[in-house]
Amino acid sequence: MMHPPPEKSREQRLLRNARREGLVIMVVWAAALLWSVGAGVLLGYRRSAQEMQLIFGMPDWVFWSVVLPWALCFLFSIWFCFAFMADDDLGLDPEERPPHA
């Protein structure tokens, strides 16, 4: 029969949460970098300005490679901050702890 690992070897909850949240952020960072610069270079570089369409008054490539991913990143941050990121106890400074803590 498998027993849960003893309490002593358990990694801090805050550390697990922080690592998981950091990894998610870095994945989103990489996706945003690829999308933004990739789409910007593919759609916006070495193109004739005369045939360029405008979306909400800006060149189409600006909308697809900057404004749209920016809006999506903002929506992601709402989800991340208010639904995904865990609340953890940050702990106390040494002088605030009880003597034998």
Binding site: E7, K8, D88
Partner: protein, 573 residues
Amino acid sequence: MPSALASLLPLLAQSGAVPQASPYTLIAFFGYMGGVFLLGALSHQLLKRGSFLKEYFLGDRQLNAWVLGLTYVATSVSAGSFVGFPSLIYQHGWIMALWIAGYMVGGLVSKGVLAKRLNQVSRLSGAITVPDVLRDRFQSPALGTLASVFLLLFLLFNLVGQFKAGGLIMRQACEGVRDNAVYQSARTATVRTLSATHVWNETAAAKHPGELRDVEYPDYVLGMFIFALTVVAYTTYGGFWAVTWSDVLQGVMILAGALLLMFLALGKVGGLAEATNKLRTIDPKLLTGPGPDDYLAPGLAVSFFCMWTLSAMGQPVGMVRLMACRDTPTLRRSLFLIGLYYLLIYLPLVFTFICARAIYPTEYLKQSDRIMPVMTQTVTADWPLLGGLILAAPYAAAMSAVAGFLLLMSSSLVRDIYQRNFNPDISARDVKKVSYLTTAAVGIVVTIASLWPPRFLQYLVLFTTAGMACTYLAPTVLCLYWRRATRAGALAALIGGFLTLSTLWGLGMMGIGKAGKTGPAGEGFAPICILDLDPVIYGLLISFALGIAVSLFTQPLPQKHVDSYFLADGHSP
């Protein structure tokens, strides 16, 4: 924009960077200074509670979401964002939207990855500075001291740059009152002092018109003294709270200024589509990449994306604010606020100065740095006080950046060098005296150093910003998240990142690898950009690689010590 002030410096060095001050500009400016002094005085009251060091340098870790969010963005949105960035949009058009795109995840990356864990680890050991955290986690006084020495060097160069910018801004702001008797007597006293101390000679200065030390040098010195006196006084007296509350004031001013300018500019030009179509007729390259003069090569677009995110994550001045946060709900809310703030600042600035190019197709191309104040005056012609308030924003931004750096430098000296190495048992009363004296002394030393600012200081500011990221990011990430990291690994990461960056900058300054380069990578004192990528990317990669490799080949730290940072029931160090 961590290094954005760098782009402001060369612009301000030209005459007319900020238009001659109107009475309204000065009213708004001095109103802001009055507000800052008031906040400094109020902040001083808070120093009477709890641990003085923690209160003075870290605000007793009590920052709430609004204050944390606004102080973080106010430090990153510097004067450069409000003067240098608009100038670049005016010159290069829509490609600047891609240049700034990293800010879409800027807040999340620079704050979200480190904040929670850094705050917790700093509490575990009672650390109040970044070198403090490294020293305790790796049980290495040598590492802590070296990290402090690097930090002091970076900050000294950076602060001289900020003071120079502050002096130049004040010189321009005071231009409208130069005939005033009070100004004239202050100027005469400055000339006498400079001549008596052999710092400057009027006869010799007349032979070098257009340089900083020309006949207008006393005006620069006077402006720099006013700037220094204000910022050193309120920082010394009020400590961390004075800096953060003035950041809040500044953050609100900048946000309101950016949004107001956008709506007024769009109204003036008849909408964004109208402005873009006008740009199409002025120069089609203003609508496409890489922009006029091949400004933004794809590699540089990647570099800037990394710069606004990864480099920002490695700035100790930002890390200290993360350590000052009260709790995790505060972190979550402030993270959201920062994202919202960047969205409301940077895209409106792009829209506004696209409109500016449509209104002034060629008029300010040779003095593009003037476009922000010119545009403000154009769209607020009927509301001059409003225009004055918007124009005070870059002044406020420069002050806020200086205050943050000043306090960081002082904390490094008091805590990391003096208390940790020479006087661990210093009494609470003495630590208070030493902190006040050190902050004031640092301000005085930097003020004196700013009398002889190096000619190409803007590149030093850029170098120090990238340098801090390459020096501190990898050791900090490894310290927080990897239990196998060793003190030798952290040292290798710290030194390796610094040396890589220094080497690439040094080679670039010698002119190596510049052939055929355009845009920022082709400038004379810029670093060498291999494959068009900024040295900060190589510095970070090598720093992380060395940190991991050296750790794997060196003796791990005692398990009990590491457990205290990583396990649920580990004892505090």
